[in-house]
């Protein structure tokens, strides 16, 4: 494949740029936070709301979002942890916890032993002041502000934010938990997480993006960056459920894997009116390895548009992308998975698989794998399945005493289980299972009607 297809070409259509890997082209170039905010604001004010198109039949637009009517809402910093967050994060041992409500961090706590070992967990605003060197070295190293209006909005307007630093060689047993929640309509949340794993650090990180019912529209424009230095290892999970309200989630997340480092990343996207996420896992140094997992389940009239990138900038490196999604109701979900291997990233081996399960005649899932390879000594391939409920299996289980809904639940859990089990975190696994069960219960009539129609 010609080399130029592996890099974003200046002057190609907006859509192509919007669906392209960021490829490490971060905005950071020695400018101060203020200068970056200013530049981002200028871009934001000039830019039109983005439209994502692919292959001619799939469009995600923010046409229905009244951006002008939304404002960041500051919460009382002493207000404590909202119930919807408490339910998601559970009661459990943890390394630390940071909670942001609207535009304000309302809770931040770090295990004392970890603090003594040099671990930092604080609002990103505070990190910019108190850890200027770390902040300057990593902030926006892999994220941009000039690809689209919402990305610019985040870079210009973020407040609160989360900063996690795990120093060289520090190993942490219990997960760090971050949570962003929205509890008011007509609000915009510009969330920004910056996390760094020093050389040889080992830790778990979980980000929860959650909301209960909300009146009116709300926007979560999120940015997430994680940098893993030489030999660092991280198990990263995102859990997102924006509830039944009209929440738009337009986010970008980039994980940067250093020399001999490893990341296992699993986003679980389990609710939101309209979600468009760009998720990029990039191996930047030789010996880096990663497992990029993900699951989604859309219902009702939800619209989910995911662009997942498995990027290899150098070799030897390893990748393994495995996503699973289900859809009920009239929902629409699209997962575009891109394997991109840069010139010179020799001896890279990666595989992408996408499995989808349709649970209603009106639901639609598009799984679009693509491969851009600019090196010759590599293996990159993809596969996947599109499934419907297996009526033979349902009857088999019914004949053993399970009701039809119970049997359907077993099948769907079995479908997702290979990924859920990989979370290796009982509390989070249970949360995901319960959420999936809840969605199935809500879709019971729908699923029954589908069976009858076939």
């Amino acid at each position: 494949m010609p080399e130029d297809r592996a890099r974003p070409k200046p002057g190609t259509s907006r859509e192509a740029t919007l669906n392209h890997a960021l490829a490490g082209a971060g905005a950071a170039d020695g400018r101060s936070l203020e200068e970056l905010r200013e530049a981002a604001l200028a871009f934001y004010e000039a830019a039109e709301p983005p439209v994502w198109r692919r292959s001619g039949f799939w469009t995600t637009s923010l046409r229905d979002l009244d951006l002008a009517s939304l404002e960041p809402r500051h919460a009382d910093p002493q207000a404590g942890i909202p119930a919807v967050v408490a339910e998601a994060i559970g009661e459990r041992p943890r390394g630390g916890l940071l909670v942001q409500r609207g535009a304000t961090v309302v809770h931040c706590q770090l295990d004392e032993g970890l603090a003594a070992a040099g671990v930092v967990l604080c609002p990103l605003e505070q990190a910019a002041r108190e850890h200027p060197e770390l902040f300057a070295r990593y902030y926006l190293r892999s994220l941009t502000y000039d690809r689209d209006k919402l990305e610019a909005a985040n870079a210009a307007l973020w407040s609160g934010g989360a900063f996690l630093y795990v120093p060289d060689g520090v190993r942490v047993e219990h997960p760090f938990q971050l949570a962003y929640t929205i509890d008011a309509g007509q609000s915009a949340q510009y969330a920004h997480t910056l996390a760094i794993g020093g050389a040889g650090a080992e830790f778990r990180l979980q980000e929860y993006d959650v909301a209960g019912p909300i009146e009116g529209q709300a926007l979560h424009a999120g940015a997430f960056e994680l940098y893993l230095e030489d030999g660092a290892r991280c198990r990263l999970a995102h859990y997102s459920d924006w509830g039944p309200g009209e929440v738009f989630d337009v986010s970008k997340a980039v994980v940067s894997v250093g020399r001999d480092a490893y990341c296992h990343w699993l986003p679980a996207l389990l609710g939101g009116h309209l979600t468009r996420q760009h998720l990029e896992l990039a191996v930047r140094e030789p010996g880096g390895d990663m497992a990029f997992r993900g699951l989604f389940f859309t219902e009702g009239t939800e619209h989910l548009d995911l662009f997942g990138v498995d990027l290899h900038e150098t070799g030897p490196s390893g990748g393994d992308v495995h996503w699973r999604g289900a859809a009920t109701g009239h929902s629409r979900a699209s997962f575009e998975g891109l394997i991109q291997i840069a010139p010179g990233a020799q001896q890279t081996h990666t595989y992408l698989q996408i499995h989808s399960m349709m649970l209603s005649p009106e639901a639609k899932i598009d799984a679009i794998p693509s491969v851009l390879v600019a090196a010759d000594d590599v293996s990159a391939s993809h596969g996947g399945t599109v499934g419907e409920l297996d009526e033979t299996a349902i009857f088999y289980m019914q004949s053993r005493g399970l009701t039809r809904p119970q049997a359907v639940r077993v099948i769907i859990e079995g479908f997702f289980e290979p990924l859920i089990g990989e979370l290796e975190d009982e509390a989070l696994e249970e949360l995901v299972r319960e959420r999936i069960a809840g969605k199935l219960q809500a879709a019971e009539d729908d699923i029954r009607a589908y069976a009858a129609s076939r």
Partner: protein
């Protein structure tokens, strides 16, 4: 009334009548064999008994434990005590044999089964069927060999303890030793718990271990001949063509 009573059952699927007036009664403690050539409707009868949605009952009725279950949902039939060991068991990905069985027991009873009691039941079934202990932590029927699938069916039978079981060609695909183990297992469930059994088979061999009290022969969707175990030998000797001619001549 017998525990299971099938009266004048007519069943069709995809615009074709497959069962054309079947009468059959099976009670607890009885062992019945149902034989018949390929395509005569044996599996159709078995699946219809459990309420498979592909088969439409156009006439007749099914009673089980005194209840008319002709229209009942499959899970209601299972809860009433009916069990089918499938001719072609399907894989249930992501669910272990043990977890599936616990779900099934809990689905069939008011109170969830105590972990200890469940383990004991499972343990006994594992011994009865002579399978590795790790067998029950494998995903149900996923990657199972033909013989393993059949064993897994009878293992489920042993754990779930229905009052009446239909075994649809459980013997096919089993090697000689496995066949003996499985058949003796069924025989023990019959002897110890009074399990009623309807064995669908093409072969004599299984009937050496589980001796039927009654033998029924199905041809073209009807039971055309009934008798004792001596009927099996006659079938071996004469084949179905001979019988077809006789009953055809008699009709």
């Amino acid at each position: 009334m017998a525990d299971l009573e099938i009266r004048n059952l007519h069943v069709r699927t995809e615009e074709r009548e497959i069962l054309r007036g079947v009468d059959l009664s099976v009670s607890r403690g009885e062992i019945h064999a149902l034989m018949g050539p390929n395509g005569s409707g044996k599996s159709t009868l078995a699946n219809t008994l459990l309420g498979h949605p592909a088969y439409e009952i156009t006439e007749g009725s099914i009673f089980f434990a005194g209840q008319d279950i002709t229209e009942a949902e499959p899970h209601e039939r299972a809860r009433a005590g009916l069990f089918l060991a499938f001719q072609y068991p399907v894989a249930i990905p992501g669910v272990s044999v043990a977890n599936f069985l616990r779900m099934a027991i809990n689905a069939q009873s008011e109170e969830p089964i105590a972990m200890k009691e469940f383990r004991q039941r499972l343990e006994r079934a594992v011994e009865l069927l002579d399978v590795e202990r790790t067998f029950t932590s494998r995903h149900l029927n996923e990657g199972f060999s033909g013989g393993e699938k059949k064993r897994a069916e009878i293992l489920q039978l042993a754990v779930l303890r229905p009052t009446l079981a239909v075994l649809d060609e459980t013997d096919s695909g089993l090697d000689i030793d496995a066949l003996r183990t499985v058949a003796e297992g069924v025989d023990r469930l019959h002897a110890e718990h009074g399990l009623g059994v309807l064995i669908i088979t093409h072969y004599q061999r299984i009937l050496h271990y589980v001796t039927p009290h009654f033998v029924h022969v199905m041809l073209d969707g009807r039971i055309v001949l009934e008798g004792g175990v001596e009927l099996v030998e006659r079938l071996e000797r004469e084949g179905y063509d001979q019988i077809r001619q006789e009953v055809g001549a008699g009709a």
